[in-house]
Symmetry: C2
């Protein structure tokens, strides 16, 4: 399979997981955290799925499309290994959904980053809160959920915070 094929499938998997998350969450309250903003394509999708929700954005730097500029007070710039624990210290409302899209070309480094962030991610979620991500998030507090139909195992990752 070409890199174009697998890229398309990964983008579809991302979309399908987020669409499923929106169904599961319904009107349950809580903010959303987007880890890895990039140019805001996924952010735009989250805004559409969850109108009116607070969406916090974490990235080293953001490069938003003009249509997708997040409000300044919702942006946390810096290495997620620092910004995420600092955010947690601020005792925020528990998140209803966290999305991670933090992979770079370096597979080992991406896996490692997700592994490092997983415990903080689990603690940021409300019990029953969801996390969808491009990398596995190994943490005892996170229970793997079945993937939406059409998403191959390993292409995306989907968990629920244990109660």
């Amino acid at each position: 399979m070409s890199r174009l094929d697998s890229y398309i499938r990964r983008m579809q998997a991302q979309k399908l997981c987020l669409d499923r998350a929106a169904q599961l969450i319904g009107t349950r309250p809580g903010p959303i955290l987007e880890l890895g903003f990039g140019n805001g394509r996924t952010y735009d999708h989250l805004r559409e799925l969850f109108p009116g929700r607070k969406i916090y954005v974490f990235d080293r730097q953001i490069n938003p499309h003009p249509d997708c500029v997040p409000p300044t007070d919702m942006v946390r710039l810096g290495d997620a290994r620092e910004t995420l624990p600092r955010f947690l210290e601020g005792a925020p409302e528990p998140a209803v959904l966290i999305h991670t899209d933090i992979g770079t070309g370096d597979k080992t480094a991406s896996l490692r980053l997700a592994q490092d962030l997983a415990p903080t991610i689990a603690r940021l979620l409300a019990p029953g809160g969801l996390v969808a991500g491009d990398q596995p998030l190994p943490d005892d507090g996170l229970e793997p959920l079945p993937l939406p139909e059409g998403v191959k195992v390993g292409r995306y990752h989907f968990y629920r915070r244990r109660a």
Copy 2:
């Protein structure tokens, strides 16, 4: 429709047009030109569809994934407004397929660039040669082809060089 949705559809449209081009071209000879190499995702797909073909690559700079590094002698670095006419002057073999993926965030500039390149693109193609691209390519020598099923008009662009 969110930017994620329309991005996925654009990537699918690209893939479907290139897959169709491969069917139409079959074993007809001639090199392929990839305008806008980026990180080489589409290049990888072209390599798979057309094993053993010469694929020339044009971009201001290339940022290849380690699996998708093109041979140095196939790369033409610089602004396509300069590299493409220079390539044509070298009286290359007529191309059997040209793919353009040269859009940037600036829609007007992208349309303009494609418009500027269209006549050179038409001249680089063999009669009956194909061009698929992310931007319209207005030129009398290029006849619009029907898009593959599932590709909405305007999402991708597909032409044949008139005989």
